[in-house]
Point group: C2
Chain length 199, copies 2
C-alpha cells in the first residue's frame, strides 16, 4: 500500500457501507480527496448528525429525529387501518407504490427466536395496546414473504383477531423468499390491492 | 418521500460518492441507521479528518497528510529513475503490480488546454527544477494511454530531453482510451517492463 495512513483509514471506514469492497472504497476516498472535498465534509456532517440524532417514532416506531414522525403526527391519515411492515424502507416503498392512506407500524425486523428476537424485542406489547384502545378496523400485514415474515404476520394476526380486528395479508404476487424493498412498484401495488383476509 | 428530513439529507449527502444513485444512497443510509451506527460515526470522523488534513507531498505531489509522503521521505528508493503518473491511485497500482524501486511524480491530472489546465496547473515547473538539479537518468512516462495522457507524456519528455535525460513510455499493452487504474496487474506489469525510449 502506497497510500498514507490517513487515506488508508478513510478507505477502511468506507467498508462499513453495504456492497463496498476494497476497490470501491479506494475509488470513493480518492474521488472525494481529488474532486469533491466539500461533498466529503457535508457527508461527514450529515453522518454525525444522523447517527447521533435519529431515534424511533414513539408511535409507529420508524426511524426519525423527532418524538413522533411526520406521518404519525399528521391528522390526514385514516386511523381505522394499520399497515405492519418490517423496515422503514418498506414504508417508503408502499407510500410510493400504493394509495394507502392509513397508518403504519414498523417492526424493525421479524420474529427470529434463534437470534433472540421475540415479541418483546419487536415491541409487540405496544402494538397490542393499540389493538385494545384504538378505532382500528383492519390490520394489513405487509411483512416480507419469507418464513420469518410469514410467522411474524401470523403471530400479529392472532393478536389482532383476539381483539376482534380484521387482519389482511398482502397478496403473494411476489416470489417467496424475496424482500419487499427490492420489488418493483407495479408488483408491489398489485400485491397490496390484492390483499386477502387471513383465516 | 416518507423518510424524515434528516434521513433525506443523509441520503442526499451519499450522492457525492461515485456511482451512488438514489436507491444505493437509501440502502447505505438505512444500513448504517439500522445496523451499524458505530461504523457511521467512524466514517464521519475519518471523512472530516481526511477532507481537512490531506494535502500534497511537497516532493512528489501525491496526496498525504504529512509534509513529505513516506515514499519520498524514505531513503531506500532509487533516485536515478522517476516515474510520472496522473493520479495517486496509479502509484498504488504500479507499486502493487511492478518491482519498480525509483521515485514518483504525481501530476493530479493531465494537460487539458480546453479546461484551462496547462503546465503551470500541473506543477511542471517544479518537475523541471528536478530535471535540472538531480541525479536523474531516466524519466518513465506512465500517464494514461488517452489523447491527453499522450500529449502530457510528450510534453514532459521534451522537457526532460532538453536536460539530456532519457525518457521512456510504458508499453501500450493496454487498450487506447483506457485508464491505468482499471487495468489488471498482469497487463500493467507487462506494459511497465516493456517500456521503450521515446523518440
Ligand atoms: Zn410514526
Ligand atoms: Zn512524495
Amino acid at each position: 500500500m502506497a497510500a498514507s495512513p490517513l487515506i488508508q483509514q478513510l478507505m477502511e471506514a468506507f467498508r462499513c457501507l453495504p456492497g463496498v469492497g476494497n476497490k470501491t472504497a479506494q475509488r470513493m476516498a480518492y474521488h472525494l480527496l481529488e474532486r469533491d472535498r466539500e461533498g466529503g465534509r457535508q457527508l461527514s456532517l450529515m453522518l454525525q448528525k444522523a447517527m447521533d440524532g435519529i431515534g424511533r417514532c414513539s408511535d409507529c416506531r420508524t426511524l426519525c429525529e423527532t418524538e413522533t414522525c411526520s406521518l404519525c403526527a399528521g391528522n390526514s391519515r385514516d386511523d381505522t387501518v394499520l399497515c405492519v411492515v418490517e423496515n422503514p424502507m418498506d414504508v417508503e416503498a408502499l407510500e410510493q407504490a400504493t394509495d394507502f392512506r392509513g397508518r403504519y407500524f414498523v417492526l424493525m425486523g421479524h420474529l427470529s427466536p434463534l437470534d433472540g428476537i421475540g415479541p418483546e424485542e419487536l415491541g409487540l406489547d405496544g402494538l397490542g395496546e393499540r389493538f385494545a384502545n384504538s378505532a382500528l378496523q383492519e390490520v394489513i400485514l405487509a411483512t416480507n414473504p419469507t418464513v420469518e415474515g410469514e410467522a411474524t404476520a401470523q403471530y400479529i394476526s392472532d393478536m389482532a383477531r383476539e381483539k376482534g380486528i380484521r387482519t389482511t395479508r398482502i397478496a403473494h404476487g411476489v416470489p417467496m423468499g424475496g424482500e419487499l424493498e427490492y420489488i418493483d412498484s407495479g408488483t408491489l401495488s398489485h400485491a397490496f390491492s390484492g390483499r386477502r383476509d387471513l383465516t
